[in-house]
């Protein structure tokens, strides 16, 4: 993740062009490619909602939940260029009633939780206005 540009960093196979996220791959997983060289690349910061849901109960550790627990919404978002779906929370305040399948969203950074004085930041999806 890159704080300034707010895009996810994946990796891309130098030989066949397949994207990977998370980017920490050792071997290209395309069966017709045996490359093990990758470039770190930014992934599209906009996509289309493939589906969505929420979490009404507190998940177990290692999730660090707000106290009291606040439900949050989750979306699976399809990136056009990469032809892949990436999961993530929807931005704080967005509920399942605010989104639909096919809606356009863009990436934002959000502090998921603070622990020992440190902010843990992750990507979230924000519906486009």
């Amino acid at each position: 993740m890159d704080e300034a540009d707010t895009h996810l960093i994946g990796s891309r196979c130098k030989r066949c062009g397949t994207y990977f996220f998370p980017g920490n791959v050792t071997f290209c997983r395309n069966p017709s490619c045996d490359s093990d060289e990758f470039d770190a690349v930014p992934l599209s910061r906009e996509g289309t909602i493939w589906s969505y849901t929420d979490a009404q109960y507190k998940p177990p550790e290692p999730y660090v939940a707000a106290d009291p627990f606040e439900p949050y919404a989750i979306a699976a978002v399809e990136l056009a260029k990469e032809r892949m779906i990436i999961l993530g929370q929807l931005a704080k305040g967005v509920t399942v009633d605010d989104v639909t399948t096919g809606m356009q969203v863009e990436l934002q950074l959000q502090t998921l939780f603070t622990k020992d004085g440190q902010d843990y930041v992750s990507w979230v999806w924000q519906p486009k206005r």
């Binding site: 196979c13 066949c16 062009g17 397949t18 994207y19 990977f20 996220f21 998370p22 920490n24 997983r29 395309n30 069966p31 017709s32 490619c33 493939w50 589906s51 969505y52 849901t53 929420d54 979490a55 009404q56 109960y57 998940p59 177990p60 550790e61 290692p62 999730y63 949050y72 989750i74 699976a76 260029k81 990469e82 032809r83 892949m84 779906i85 990436i86 999961l87 993530g88 929370q89 399942v96 639909t100 399948t101 096919g102 998921l112 992750s122």
Partner: protein
Amino acid sequence: MSRDVVILGAGMHPWGKWGKNFVEYGVHAARAALKDAGVSWQDIEFVAGGATMRNGYPGYVAGATFSQALGWQGNEIMTCYAACATGSQALAAARAKIQAGQCEVALVVGADTTPKGFLAPQKGERPDDPDWVRFRLGITNPTYFSLYAQRRKDLYGATDEDFATIKVKNAEHGFSNEFARYRKKFTVEEVLASPMVASPLRLFEICATSDGGAAVVVASKEYADRLGSQRQVKIGGISTVSPKFASADVEMPDIATDSAAASNAYSFRASIAQKAYEEAGVGPEEVSLAEVYDLSSAMELDWYEYIGLCPQGDAEKLLRDGDTRIGGRVPVNASGGLACFGEAVPAQALAQVCELTMQLRGEAGDRQVSDAKVGVTGNQGLFGHGSSVVLLR
């Protein structure tokens, strides 16, 4: 080409939360299957055990552990693990051993003891482990179930009532099943009144984890005939295929699908049963009944399509027409399914096979599907595992 392999006997330990060691469930199921088959333990030449990863070393070597508990007698042993497909993989190993001519009769066993509550990942910071990362992001098993459920609502017009109807149907099916853990009937209203877990799925629509054990005795047809068995069920086909890259399914525990930027996209789940049908030489239109993985109520609808009971998008119609109820055209989860059992990972795929065996023999009692001739199972789990078994009367 190869010789026929049949199921000679099936046995189970009732599902539940009994707090016993998994070995007890496995041995109970194995002895029941042996008795049902009319085969003595000492005649078994090969044991394929489904591993459990929650019970220390004895679980890693379940094939050996069950063999020792039944009494070492020099049989060959194997232990398999394939998440939810474990039981089918063990069954496939036993079938291959028999078809290869290396043995005539084999025992396949899976059993598990599960902890209470949420299935959480192991402790410790493991940013390289996708299972750890998704929990860190707040993505639990129900998240995946609900993403598929919501997509059905938006694309195919599924309703919350449809999802609840599946729970009601399966609870009705499993009500008289002595091996089921939950034997209680529900109304659609009761299901819809249960707390929302992950929209649009509610508490009564999401599968629990259970203790349980299941076993089958399999043999060459020649062996079964020599034994004079009149209750043989033929194994038509078994599929334990892996996905094809790029796999387009949103799968636990991944936070992203494969990228199809440089490849074609494939649906893994839709490919699983296809291979089992091909091996069996039957098509979905010939299926009398199916046992599929209703990890959530809504997921059963996806499975109608994965196993070819209807085209994509038509599952809701199949359900609403009552086709998948006992008495309907092609009953699904006559056992009660995961809704009534709860999942006991290494036993579950075998439990599906046990149910089909009882049904194809006409021994399923109150939940008997009439004139059952062809049965199919479907299940799918973590890390590219899935399986399907076609049984024939």
